[in-house]
Amino acid sequence: MRRVLQSMRDGIGFDTMLVILTLSYLLVFAGLPLIYNVVISFQTVDVFSLGTLMHPSAGVENYVDIFEDRQAETVLRNTIIFTLGSVALQFTLGFALALFFHQNFTGATWIRGLFLAGWVMPGLVVGVLWNWLLSGDFGVVNYVLDGLGLIDEPVFWRSNPETSLYSVLIANVWYGTPFNMILLAVGLSQIPEDLYEAAELDGANAFQRFWTITLPMMRATIGAVIALGTIFTLQQFDLFAAITQGGPAGSSTVAQYWSWELSFREFDFGRGAVISVLMIIVVLIVSLIYVRSTKAETQL
């Protein structure tokens, strides 16, 4: 017993305990619900028997239905565009802003804080505001573009099947940029100044310093931010609900919205769960990439 206690305080037991505690918590409160979703994706679920795990088996029927659905192709394409587009833009803008505010000019830290506004506002409110801003008739975006002479006639961002997905994407980039910015700002502030000073003495220009010091030093942060950004984007729901409801004619439906629609508007929980299982596979891949990427991290 003493040895166990000793190990808890001082040896490998200490490490194991820390990880096991957290993992157990997650497995109970997030793992079990996940398994439930996987299980019901193979079942015919009756809305009034949600409270049990025992439903008639459906085999792979739900999966076949989803793949044969007319919407499947659009949803897949939309999900890819939305996720890659959002993550790439959020990250780039977030990084650019973090670097910009890292220059320590007067007021930089205050103004950087204001950018957190997007993250503080409730998703519903953000959605509604962008719904109005992107409105074809009374929207401010059109008003400004028109004032600048960039468009001749109003663009109906939300209601044109060609642009509807992008209207949500714009809002999502706005929403997610502060998260990227603040985390990357922390990462930047962790890099010791003397590294840069030494490089400068060696005659490295700004670009070289960024490439050889900033990027490698921030690898852990960048990996974390991109992995988390991808997962957040895959979970984005409020903006779709408030801006396009996945329309018009399904043109802006993405996987998570479709899954919700099937589960909670059509009460077809089995098929809704199929999409969540497919999303699990995507995140599985993202997680693998992330875990692999950590191999190349630099520890001070």
């Binding site: 809305v47 009034f48 044109n160 018009p248 004619a249």
Partner: protein
């Protein structure tokens, strides 16, 4: 005065019968505690009858899912106020208490006074599973000032589809940011609510959505959009926001319901009126949508009598639904007391007439799925992806699959 006596007498009876029983606490789930059922529940609780009702507000979008979830785990409330197209799903599964016999024995509730539309929404297999809270429907709002300016007669608003289309063309004025008409063709229940009346006026029904003539209704909607007579955002905008543009003077006509009256009376700085939804052709069939909620008791409640006593109290207050809540009673023979605003009173009379043609959506336990197919049809036509008849045929086929 007689109402007052009836109410007090009822309060006394309930008080007397419950005095013997233990104190009872019931729960009621609703979209709003300030809606009639919430206010009446509070009054009912304050009476000396041993019954207290706890009201829980749930966002409208979550009401059905939260309730389903709670029902599946036995944590559901005793009473619920539920949107009428969702009623059948619960009634058909035995989740709601069959109150047919209680109603027959009640001195207060006269179920035969309920209008046919709401009556259909709370019935399943000829049994009664609740009482209506109120009713609403849609009609045509129009801007009388714009009618005058365009040389149209404000006292003779469009009464057929052709007249409506002609008026929309005349009133449409893109240079001044004015659309001919505003409505909602959103991919949500609101869209179905707005579309079905047009389909029904053309002879269609939800289980026969590709009936001959429905394509004309869809073509009418399509014309509004393709000719720019309505905003393209009609596809992604709800009724409330669409009518907002009417109030702001950016649409000459709007299709919406009585819930708009309060905001319009205070915001619109022009003369407006309401008329019945135009029919397909002179003397054609009338139809309109039927909205609003029903009140139901859950079958697994421990206190069915106390819950029913609340329904009786609610019923006895029907005369207050219009003056205090600006909602239309779903019961025949309830007078709409004047509100003091002539425009609202005139509109109320129109809506009261329109309500007589209001048809229930369903009833069918799979209503949300059926509705989703209907939305799919009009949205794919309005975005130019399909021809009206083809879209309706496909929707009809999919709906048949759901029905059988």
């Amino acid at each position: 005065m007689s109402r007052f006596i009836a109410t007090s007498a009822l309060a006394l009876t309930i008080g007397a019968s419950a005095a013997m029983a233990q104190d009872v606490t019931l729960t009621l789930w609703t979209e709003s505690a300030t809606a009639p059922e919430g206010i009446f529940a509070q009054e009912f609780s304050e009476m000396d009858n041993g019954i207290t009702i706890d009201v829980r507000e749930i966002r409208f979008d979550d009401l059905v899912t939260d309730t389903l979830r709670a029902f599946a785990t036995g944590t559901n409330p005793d009473l619920i106020a539920i949107d009428n197209p969702d009623h059948a799903a619960f009634a058909s599964r035995g989740a709601f208490l069959d109150i047919t016999d209680m109603v027959a024995g009640s001195d207060v509730i006269e179920i035969d006074r309920v209008f046919p539309g709401p009556r259909s929404s709370l019935s399943w297999d000829d049994r009664i599973f609740g009482i209506p809270r109120a009713s609403n429907t849609i009609a045509l709002y129009y801007n009388k000032d714009m009618f005058r300016a365009a040389g149209l007669d404000p006292d003779n608003p469009p009464s057929t589809w052709d007249e409506l289309l002609a008026a929309a063309r005349t009133l449409n004025d893109p240079a001044n940011n004015v659309y001919g008409i505003a409505f909602s063709a959103r991919a949500s229940e609101e869209g179905t609510f707005q579309f079905l009346p047009w389909a029904q006026m053309a002879g269609g029904t939800f289980d026969n959505i590709n009936a001959e003539g429905v394509a004309d209704a869809l073509e009418l909607w399509n014309t509004f959009l393709s000719e720019g007579l309505a905003s393209p955002d009609t596809l992604t905008r709800g009724q409330w926001d669409s009518t907002g543009t009417f109030n702001g003077g950016n649409a000459a006509m709007a299709i919406s319901g009585p819930w708009e009256l309060g905001r319009m009376a205070s915001d619109a700085d022009f003369d407006w009126g309401v008329t019945l939804l135009p029919v397909r052709a002179e003397g054609g069939e009338r139809a309109s949508a039927l909205g609003d909620f029903n009140l139901a008791i859950f079958a697994n409640t421990d206190h069915p009598d106390a819950a029913f006593a609340y329904l009786e109290y609610f019923w006895s207050q029907a005369h207050r639904i219009w003056p205090e809540f600006t909602r239309m009673p779903a019961i025949e023979g309830v007078e709409l007391a004047p509100t003091g605003d002539a425009r609202i009173d005139a509109a109320a009379a129109v809506f009261a007439e329109q309500l007589r043609y209001a048809r229930n959506r369903g009833p069918h336990p799979e209503w949300p799925r059926i509705s989703q197919r209907i939305q799919g049809a009009f949205q794919s036509v309005l975005t130019g992806q399909e021809e009206p008849q083809a879209a309706l045929d496909r929707a009809a086929e999919e709906i048949d699959e759901i029905l059988n």
